[in-house]
């Protein structure tokens, strides 16, 4: 619509640069009195934001692992959620790009789905829990990090709806 719901002035480049480049903010302080103090404060904040993003990486890794576990437990169900699994991986890639200091976790895989249980219901629970965790983290950060985590949380809420 011409009076479009899309925000015409949305700073796409700023958001992208921010989410992909929080680490760049950590590089080198320049000299100069109060300016230096402000920059150091900014660097500390950027580090804190990246740490908070990094803390969400295992949460998203667990989502990817859960989709994988369902595929192993039942190939047909795995096939039916293949598109969702691909999106979960895309979300993880985006999150890792924004938090390059995060390391892959060896313990992010959740317990496997219950044998003979409802795989989609189990998956819904796993994904729903991750969505809630991303949403809570979103509120605790700001700027590009908040935008990314909020979008991740919403994407996973969509997965929960699709799995219902």
């Amino acid at each position: 619509m011409s009076a479009s719901p899309a925000p015409a002035g949305f700073p796409r480049r700023r958001l992208l640069a921010g989410s992909a480049g929080l680490a760049l903010l950590l590089a080198g302080c320049t000299s100069g009195g109060s300016g230096q103090a402000a920059q150091e404060a900014g660097n500390r904040e950027a580090r804190a934001q990246e740490d908070r993003l990094a803390a969400q990486v295992p949460v998203q890794e667990a989502v990817v692992a859960a989709y994988g576990a369902v595929g192993v437990a039942d190939a047909a169900v795995g096939e039916s959620v293949a598109a969702l699994a691909g999106q979960a991986q895309e979300q993880l890639d985006r999150l890792r790009a924004a938090a390059p200091g995060a390391t892959a976790s060896s313990s992010s895989a959740p317990p496997g789905p219950p044998a003979g249980g409802d795989l989609r219901a189990w998956l819904r629970d796993q994904v729903g829990a991750a969505a809630a965790a991303h949403a809570a983290a979103c509120v605790e950060v700001s700027g590009a990090a908040a935008a990314l985590l909020g979008s991740l949380a919403a994407g996973l809420r969509g997965h929960v709806a699709a799995l219902a």
Partner: protein, 151 residues
């Protein structure tokens, strides 16, 4: 995020952008509902109600800040003719994706944690509705990896 004293105005501007998107969504859902058969209008009515609630909350927030909430547009132009139930569902997808982009922009701009809470809750609800409308419109996949986030 601005840290030069303009944080509040940046946040208010983003709130106003979301409000403009919500005005458009309320109007658009009227078109969506009108194009659906009477027995299928429930989801449209639910969507319209949700966007009215968001609109009113945003206007209230801006009022509290002594900012002038943007009024609804005098008219809106549809992105395509809405002549069938499938068109209606496709329009609802456009509306939900539009407000999602605005909510994400607000998350990027918001300094206030309560505003971020409102934004993330509303963004998630918009994506849930979008999933239902993509399904009704016959789209695949019915989900998006990163709702509202620029590519």
């Amino acid at each position: 995020m601005a840290d030069d004293g303009s944080t509040g105005s940046t946040e208010d501007a983003a709130l106003d952008d979301v409000l403009a998107a919500e005005h458009a969504a309320v109007w658009g859902y009227g078109v969506v509902g009108a194009a659906l058969p009477p027995e299928g209008r429930g989801p449209a009515a639910d969507g319209e109600r949700a966007h009215r609630d968001s609109r009113d909350r945003l206007a209230e927030l801006l009022d509290e800040r002594d900012a002038d909430p943007v009024p609804a547009g005098a008219g809106y132009e549809l992105p395509f003719p809405v002549l069938s139930a499938a068109d209606a569902a496709a329009l609802a997808v456009v509306l939900e994706e539009g407000v999602s982009a605005a909510w994400v922009a607000l998350l990027d701009a918001a300094a206030d944690a309560e505003v971020r809470q409102l934004a993330v809750d509303s963004l998630g609800a918009a994506e849930e509705r979008a999933v239902a409308w993509r399904t009704a419109a016959g789209r695949t996949p019915v989900t998006t990896a990163l709702p509202g986030l620029p590519d």
